[in-house]
């Protein structure tokens, strides 16, 4: 009886500490992540380009992919389609209808690779090869006049592309 009460008190104390304290230990029901899982799951590409895969492509190669997989929504030359325009819009950011494109707004070229691989084409995301993603990125950068049509985009060159609106953002998080 006495032990039982004492045990109850300990359990109660633990519960109180758990609620009040910040280091509340959980039941540890997660399992270790396998190296294979880590490779499959990791698709995020930050501005320094870490995680960019091998491969590459040029605007010329990208144009072929774009016309087959992207133009129906984004228009023949990255504009004029029913989906977001990808080209032009410079000088519109302070207007009533800002046209936010890769050329006028996007601060990092790496985000192109990340987003196209992650989410495009809309009806079949994750269906493009890494070479295709590099090539389409190159094509869109070239259409916006940011890189030369012959430039090859790969893990080394893509993070070095300086975007026109690179300085266009002010972080409101300290």
């Amino acid at each position: 009886m006495c032990t039982c009460k004492w045990l109850s008190a300990v359990v109660l104390m633990t519960a109180v500490i758990c609620v009040v304290g910040t280091a509340c230990a959980g039941p540890n029901l997660g399992r270790d992540v396998t190296p294979e899982e880590m490779v499959t799951w990791e698709i995020t590409i930050p501005p320094d380009g870490s995680g960019l895969p091998p491969g590459g492509g040029t605007a010329t190669e990208g144009g072929t992919v774009y016309n087959a997989k992207c133009a129906s929504c984004h228009g023949a030359n990255g504009t004029g389609g029913p989906a977001d325009p990808l080209v032009g819009g410079i000088g519109t950011l302070v207007s009533q209808k800002p046209v936010k494109t890769i050329g006028s707004y996007w601060p990092y070229a790496t985000t192109l690779f990340d987003y196209i691989r992650r989410a495009m084409p809309y009806d079949r995301p994750r269906s493009l090869s890494n070479d295709d993603v590099y090539a389409v990125s190159a094509y869109l950068l070239s259409l916006n006049g940011i890189i030369d049509q012959k430039a090859r985009m790969d893990a080394h060159t893509l993070p070095q592309v300086h975007m026109p609106n690179r300085e266009g953002f002010v972080s409101y998080w300290p």
Partner: protein, 441 residues
């Protein structure tokens, strides 16, 4: 301004003297019995609806109604609203139309609801690539990056964790963006402001699972990613993740709906809805933000100089009158209840004021308890409409002293085309004929 306490005669009814122009009464008038509640007039969505209903009910009272002349329906496993309420539903915003019908938003019909908790089937939706059909047995959450031990959680495992609950709003940072247009859109209150909803969320404290993974001291941010076809992701400061973030598994008591992130979503109370990643599948601890597409090309707020604010996480103090509101029609002069919702990403709402003369004079509204931080708060005020044209507004203040801005003040902070973080006061005009419209002041 007239003093409180005295009474004025309005025909058959004795009413207190208004506390602000155009008949706004003391917020306690209903409670103190200064007003006979029977005198209250409700506004209808369609002209004459309520009058017609009242007349039909009058003629029925002498007969036994059909539902008393035989037994009703038996039980059903999952209840549905009354069939007479089928007009209460979300409105859609599908900017890409047929090419991407699942990309866009649906808005909570705020003007058709009361209280503060949004029914699960009416919670607003914002999807970037439709609603995925996720088999929970094949879904998992990965926590990795700058951690001591990367962890893989099955849904089943997370369901065994100690749970926490909290009532809070979720608001899309694009809420009310229709009011950015040069001309005020003539839409319902819900169609304009319905990208905000409020639920009781239950799940696992994110701090608990992060503690198990052991965050490296270098880790200052985390990147949350969803399992939808857009693999939607956002960078989030670790401070928030350790403060009050939740891996939500239940909404208003039941498991999350697919459109709210089934089988699990991130919940960041008070922060722009886009960061509360639905269909959560991955949390990567990082040193800094990864500048995903959503936090660069989308959820950034253009300022007058053409630069854009980035990582503007908390939603600002805001309120809107839901009753009466655009599209409804006043049912003649008399006593009404002005009612609406207020909220703030900075904490509790402490005050809501109502004006019927476009902001010249104000009356303080009653706030319905409990007033919870980061949750929708219902406000109410009795109003004796004299049939003259009025401009109804509400203005919220939160516990940090933030006061909701005028549209003019809000507009001055941003570029003309900015559609994010709109928290200006809403103005509804009421014509002598009882027509209610959206206007800008």
């Amino acid at each position: 301004m007239p003093k409180q306490g005295r009474r004025q005669s309005t025909g058959a009814m004795e009413l207190p003297v208004p506390v602000a122009d155009h008949g706004l009464l003391d917020r306690r008038a209903f409670l103190t019995g200064a007003i006979h509640v029977a005198g209250l007039v409700a506004v209808g969505s369609h002209a004459g609806d309520l009058v017609a209903t009242a007349q039909a009910a009058e003629s029925m009272t002498l007969e036994t109604p059909p539902w008393m002349q035989g037994p009703g329906q038996p039980f059903r496993g999952y209840g549905q609203p009354a069939k007479y309420e089928e007009e209460v539903k979300r409105t859609f915003f599908q900017p890409y139309k047929d090419i991407a019908p699942g990309s866009g938003a649906s808005m909570t019909p705020l003007h058709q609801l009361q209280g503060t908790i949004t029914p699960n089937g009416l919670h607003f939706e914002r999807h970037h690539s439709g609603v995925p059909d996720i088999d929970p047995a094949q879904h998992a959450l990965l926590i990795h990056g700058l951690v001591r031990r990367p962890l893989h959680f099955s849904v089943e495992a997370l369901l065994r964790y100690p749970t926490i609950s909290r009532i809070c709003f979720v608001e899309c940072s694009g809420n009310s963006f229709f009011n950015v247009a040069a001309e005020p859109p003539q839409k319902s209150c819900g169609a304009i402001h319905g990208l905000v909803s409020c639920s009781e969320w239950t799940g696992v404290s994110l701090a608990v699972v992060l503690e198990e993974a052991g965050v490296d001291p270098q880790g200052k941010w985390l990147v949350a990613e969803g399992a939808d076809a857009a693999a939607m992701n956002r960078s989030i400061p670790l401070v928030k993740a350790l403060d009050d973030a939740m891996i939500a598994l239940y909404q208003n008591g039941e498991r999350l709906r697919p459109e709210q992130g089934y089988p699990m979503r991130l919940l960041l109370p008070g922060w722009e809805g886009n960061t509360s990643i639905k269909w959560l599948r991955r949390l990567t601890i990082t040193e800094g933000p990864v500048y995903s597409r959503e936090e660069t090309s989308k959820y950034t707020d253009l300022m007058p100089d053409g630069k854009a604010r980035q990582f503007t996480f908390p939603m600002a103090v805001k309120s809107v009158i839901t009753h009466p509101s655009a599209g409804m029609r006043m049912q003649g002069k008399g006593l009404y209840e002005v009612s609406g919702l207020a909220w703030s990403g900075a904490g509790r709402v402490t005050k809501v004021e109502v004006s019927a003369d476009g902001g010249k004079s104000w009356a303080e509204a009653a706030l319905q308890a409990p007033i919870l931080p980061l949750a929708l708060t219902r406000f109410r005020l009795p109003w004796n409409w004299d049939g003259s044209p009025v401009l109804l507004q509400s203005r919220a203040t939160d516990e940090k002293g933030n006061v909701q801005t005028t549209r003019e003040q809000w507009t001055a902070q941003y570029s003309a085309g900015n559609v994010y973080h709109y928290n200006a006061m809403q103005t509804w005009s009421v014509s002598p004929a009882g027509e209610i419209k959206n206007v800008y002041l």
